[in-house]
Amino acid sequence: MLLLQTLRGAPNQSVLESSGPLADRVESLWWFAFATASIVYLATMGGLWWAAARARRRERQGEELPPDGERRMTRGVTIAVSATVVILLVFLITDLTVGRTLDPVPRKHPITVELTGKQWWWDVQYADTSAQGRVQTANEIHIPVGQPVLFLLNASDVIHSMWVPNLAGKKDLIPGYTQSMWFQADTAGDYRAQCAEFCGLQHAKMALHVIAEPQAKYEKWIDEQRKPAHTPTDSVADRGREVFLTGQCAMCHSITGTSAASHNGPDLTHLASRRTIAAGTLPNTRGALAGWIVDPQQVKPGTHMPPNQLAPQDLDALLTYLQSLK
């Protein structure tokens, strides 16, 4: 039981804490496989122990091997092999059946999210029926509870893989080839997703938070995200905005409502509303943000974000501005 408890891992990133219909099936498949494998393991170990004990007894008592030993051995091996084949077949069939039930996208999926994997972060775009209703963000997905969400997966550099263990299985993100997956969250929560295909130096620090929340809360969030960035009213934040637009930042990042519209790095229009920065690496606090801006290679060696040498007052202004992007 202790072992099982360890297996569960963190509750917000675990197959054994399923929170949606897809993950439920994956979890029951896991339990079925676990139970079957456990029984097979116990039976095999038991058989081995029994055989060893009997051989020992025969040796001690000086018994001869029965004359039909050869035949009995053949029969034993045949039964064992057949049992293995049958068990594997059952595994295969259950696996395929579960896979098939996961695949079809429900006809009604009110939300479509275009997810693009990049080294080493996630570009998130909510595709609305109207062009104006689209939302661009990064590294954090909000979904309403009880609604299926369709994901269109692509990658812009190497192959990545999307895995929210609590909600669904894995699906690869392949450059130049759009794949789709869907899932639904039945309970509200902050679920952690992780890139599940080795994609370079910072593969480990490429996380994505899927936040399932009640419909009303989700609507409020997406309406907020649709708005252009807040224009600063105080002079410090205004100076920060200028630092952002005239310096290195605008070469890679976009903030809707300003002239910055580059897509090399994550969109920062509503940066302050996110929980983490650097793809789930650091909490979104002023200190962490400062450290990340000044020396990102310390936090995520190899990340494509270069160090920024800023005068202290400029950095301070920039942080104030970024923290105002609610």
Partner: protein, 631 residues
């Protein structure tokens, strides 16, 4: 034939074969009927053999155009407000053009692409060069036309870095004793035509946002109408009106954004439902991308004084990569009709919604009066980059016909019921995917090079290219003042192996009357005269004259550099008819020579260099004005 509807294809075959055998009225009649039966035109390679005299359109009813009385001058690049580029001078005819010879020449001292026409007013010729936009005045009354004066606006040299397709200029305009032109660094300049003194200079754009100006202004009712270039740089397109007397800005009409800024108000009435709605210039874009969405106005304007409407097209949306701008992207790749007094839009029509292949809509609109189903319609003829020749009612924006003039794989047809272009989804570019055999290529069936129309033959002479391309979508990054394209492109010749064509288009039958093929894209404008001669130049330096009735080659002269300019004709002080053209290769098509590009990289010059690999061996840089006359 495959392009006709299956149910009518047999009759199409019959019509075409008979058209080849017979001449005269009968052919025209058959052709007229069949052109209605086939929704699509026959493929260009099956067009009439130029050697065979085609059905002279003059036999039946033909289109006409409003012309001013011929004064022997050439005061604006398009010759007249109707943009016909037709001269009523008839001294040079199809019969005597063979003895045409150079009279004099003039070096501009600039070696970039010379797309501009010289203009002729009051026995003075005005020659405007590409960047650095020097304006020369040449005295035509003196032998050899010596220089009277020159005016140097000294544009900012950094502007060259944001000019997408060579540092060209498409010409000056004359009005009210002033020569008006645009400089590459976004200044509109008015110069006294007599003295060469600058009268006013107004800055209307900023090179730091990627804006440049290359178009020729049109002066209408004391207003100078100018537009910007930079659809490849994430520029927001506009048309501005400046007061001719003072240079003061009167109004600005943007191509994207809210209705108030596009100047769509109570007078606006689009013909098709797809072009109706509030604030489409914002709603058809994601987020605030309309602010960097292109739709620049770098092409031609024409004007109907009776309706008091100015017509012009808007350029491609930015970036080229369509994945990054879901929506119709209004009003890019569109035709606009505006009241020049207020700038108010009266109608608009989007040719290529959510443009996929850089099909700008900036090409010229020739204002024709066309006999159409028993009545005369005030029409405009617009050969678009998407490969169709649009014939539209110019008072309402209704599409009368839209048939292809080049090989097209990117769309199936223009649906006349709702005006929409039916795209072929397999040819849609995508990030990280290579899509091949896209026809026409990004420069379109036809680019900026202006057509001409002769009321004598009723034909439109369309200079154009025959190119296809491969495309690979890339993620485009908007960094102000740098390119915003997001596409790897590689162009190559279209079916037939030739890269250029001159098509004589019959606007009533909506099909080509005849076609000539050229080795390189025909990147020069055409000129047609009352002597029934069509003049045009080729990129390997030949200046050619062909018979306007049947395309028979009549005369040619080899100039010092490839010709991409606009030929003009005028009557000299001695009463003789002269023909003039600039020779100086460049532009997008000639960038490989003008910019010394390396075609080992097939994406050089946005992919155009790949199609022009052999050009450097056929021509070299130049910048010379050639003037021809009969002996």
């Amino acid at each position: 034939m495959a392009r006709c509807r299956p149910d009518v294809s047999r009759s199409c075959v019959w019509a075409l074969t008979s058209a080849k055998r017979m001449c005269g009225v009968l052919t025209l009649g058959v052709a007229l009927i069949m052109a209605q039966a086939c929704t699509r035109e026959q493929t260009p390679e099956r067009a009439h053999d130029p050697a065979v005299p085609a059905a002279p359109a003059m036999a039946g009813p033909r289109a006409s155009v409003a012309l001013d009385a011929e004064d022997g001058q050439w005061t604006m690049p398009a010759k007249s407000y109707s943009a016909a580029r037709f001269s009523q001078l008839g001294e040079i005819t199809a019969d005597n053009v063979k003895s045409l010879r150079p009279a004099w020449s003039f070096s501009t001292s600039v070696l970039r692409g010379h797309e501009e026409p010289p203009i002729v007013v009051n026995n003075t010729m005005y020659v405007l060069t590409p960047y650095p936009n020097i304006l020369y005045a040449l005295d035509l009354t003196q032998p050899g036309a010596p220089k009277k004066w020159q005016y140097e606006p000294k544009p900012e040299s950094a502007a060259q870095g944001v000019a997408c397709c060579d540092v060209v200029n498409r010409g000056p305009s004359f009005a009210d004793g002033k020569i008006v032109f645009n400089t590459l660094d976004n200044n509109v300049v008015a110069v006294d035509a007599a003295t060469g003194n600058a009268l006013w200079k107004t800055k209307v754009g900023d090179i730091n946002t990627g804006e440049t100006m290359t178009m020729a202004p049109l002066v209408v009712k004391g207003k100078v109408l100018v537009g910007n270039s930079g659809g490849e740089m994430g520029v927001r397109g506009w048309l501005k009106a400046l007061d001719l007397a003072s240079g003061k800005l009167l109004w600005t009409a943007y191509s994207t954004g809210p209705d108030s800024e596009v100047k769509i108000g109570s007078r606006f009435k689009a013909f098709y439902p797809k072009d109706r709605g509030k604030d489409l210039g914002v709603k058809s874009w994601p987020g605030e991308q309309w602010k960097i969405g292109g739709g620049t106005v770098w092409g031609w304007l024409s004007y109907d004084p009776q309706l008091n409407l100015v017509y012009y097209g808007t350029a491609n949306p930015g970036p080229w990569n369509p994945d990054q701008r879901p929506g119709d992207n209004k009003w890019t790749s569109s035709l606009m009709a505006r009241d020049p007094d207020t700038g108010d839009a009266v109608w608009a029509f989007q040719m290529s919604p959510h443009d996929l292949h850089d099909y700008d809509g900036v090409n010229e609109s020739i204002l024709l009066d066309v006999p159409w189903k028993g009545q005369t319609r005030k029409a405009l003829l617009h050969p678009d980059r998407n490969g169709y020749v649009y014939l539209m009612d110019r008072s309402t924006g209704e599409v009368l016909s839209a048939n292809p003039f080049v090989h097209i794989t990117t769309s199936r047809q223009v649906n006349l019921a709702n005006g929409s272009l039916e795209y072929v989804s397999e040819k849609e570019p995508e990030i990280g995917k290579v899509v091949r055999d896209i026809c026409p290529a990004s420069p379109g069936g036809k680019d900026w090079q202006p057509s001409s129309f002769s009321p004598r033959t009723g034909l439109v002479y369309i200079p154009h290219q025959n190119l296809c391309e491969d495309e690979e979508g890339l993620e485009a990054n908007y960094i102000a003042g740098t390119p915003y394209v997001g596409m790897n492109v590689r162009m190559y010749e279209g079916p037939g192996g030739h890269r250029g064509e001159l098509t004589a288009w019959d606007p009533i039958a909506a099909r080509p009357a005849w076609k000539l093929t050229e080795k390189y894209p025909v990147w020069s404008g055409t000129l047609v005269t009352a002597g029934d001669v069509v003049f045009y130049g080729t990129m390997d330096g030949w200046f050619k004259a062909v018979d306007a009735r049947n395309g028979k080659p009549l005369w040619q002269y080899r100039t010092g550099s490839g010709i991409i300019g606009q030929p003009v004709t005028y009557r000299g002080p001695d009463g003789k008819q002269y023909v003039a053209v600039m020779a100086g290769v460049g532009g997008w098509a000639g960038a490989i020579v003008a910019g010394n590009l390396d075609p080992r990289d097939s994406t050089a010059a946005l992919g155009f260099a790949a199609a022009m690999k052999d050009l450097p061996s056929d021509t070299q840089k130049g910048g010379t004005l050639y003037v021809f006359a009969l002996p």
